[in-house]
């Protein structure tokens, strides 16, 4: 049994569920006639899940791209109802990015914060006095540690983003099914 299994089954999973519940409460309370009326369509949820599983480092970037597209539409639309829809879309992608890399005080928790808290002590940056000259050996050791840290972060991301967004996306689809009355 791995720590990630416990985390995915408890704290991490619960955070994903809470994030969806809060989003739905504030932006998509419904009920909706059709699934298409939801701010974020099933296909986008499927896309988000796929990126989280395959390329976790790109989730934040993807969310920002989606937010920018929605913002550009919001800037040009005059239809009040459409503006509301676009605001809900923007809120979703802001949330997703925040869940990935948000910082306090706006985001009291994010995957990046969680990762940084559990970074093993031997992978943390060495403190050198400003302007200190490093020997070749020290430089090589620093480079090796940086590479090791990157590998560790990549693996951590693969495990945790997949687990988190698996729950996040599943719960979003579940809420969709409960609150969509006509389809």
């Amino acid at each position: 049994m791995l720590d990630i299994d416990i985390s995915a089954d408890t704290e991490l999973g619960q955070r994903a569920i809470d994030a969806v519940d809060n989003y739905v409460r504030d932006n998509a309370a419904g009920p909706f006639q059709k699934a298409d009326d939801w701010p974020i369509a099933r296909t986008q949820i499927a896309g988000l899940r796929q990126i989280a599983v395959n390329e976790p480092v790109k989730v934040g970037e993807f969310a920002e791209h989606q937010r920018t597209k929605a913002q550009a539409k919001l800037d040009t639309t005059k239809n009040v109802e459409r503006q509301r829809d676009l605001e809900a879309i923007i809120a979703f992608w802001v949330l997703v990015r925040g869940l990935c890399e948000g910082k306090p005080p706006k985001f009291s928790w994010s995957l990046t914060q969680m990762r940084d808290q559990v970074l093993p002590a031997d992978l943390q940056d060495d403190k050198h006095p400003p302007g200190a000259q490093l020997t070749k050996e020290q430089q090589a050791a620093r480079k090796g540690k940086r590479e090791h840290r990157e590998r560790w972060e990549r693996q951590w991301g693969l495990d945790h983003y997949a687990a988190f967004f698996q729950r996040f996306c599943g719960h979003y689809l579940y809420e969709m099914s409960k609150r969509t009355t006509g389809e």
Binding site: M1, D9, T10, R167, S177, K178, G182
Partner: protein, 148 residues
């Protein structure tokens, strides 16, 4: 992390699954699942029910079972008569029972590793009982048809 389930924890978990109230609720749900999903075209157990069972016995995270149910519910659309599909008809009841297993595991131990193992143990026992009730309902229906 390596957690182990003690014989006492296993006994308590199995005892819970065997309690009258819990057993009756699972049996009732299994019958309902049969009414809603029915058998497949060849008269075998529904693929969806089989998938749920396979998942419950193979996962390393209890949440994967909950996610499976939620995903299946999320995929379904209402039919032309605006009637919900089988997962939407039974999903909440399944999730409620899974929630009860989660609670029970948390009550039995404070160790997170043991809790996870207990949840999985409970899920496996629960799905066996659910599918057992489903198959019994299926057999009863077939016997009725034979004798009719």
């Amino acid at each position: 992390m390596s957690a182990v389930l003690t014989p006492e924890l296993l006994r308590q978990a199995d005892g819970f699954l065997d309690e009258d109230g819990q057993h009756a609720a699972t049996t009732e749900l299994g019958q309902r699942v049969f009414l809603v999903f029915g058998p497949d075209e060849k008269g075998h157990i529904s693929t969806q029910v089989r998938n749920l069972q396979q998942l419950a016995v193979s996962v390393t995270r209890f949440a994967d079972i909950e996610d499976f149910v939620k995903n299946q519910m999320g995929k379904e659309k209402l039919d032309k008569q605006k009637k919900p599909g089988p997962w939407r008809q039974t999903g909440d009841a399944i999730l409620k029972q899974l929630g009860r297993l989660r609670e029970k595991a948390s009550q039995l131990t404070n160790d997170e590793g043991q809790r996870l193992l207990l949840r999985l143990h409970l899920a496996r026992g629960w799905v066996r009982a659910l599918v057992g009730a489903y198959l019994y309902a299926k057999a009863q229906q077939e016997m009725k048809q034979t004798h009719a």
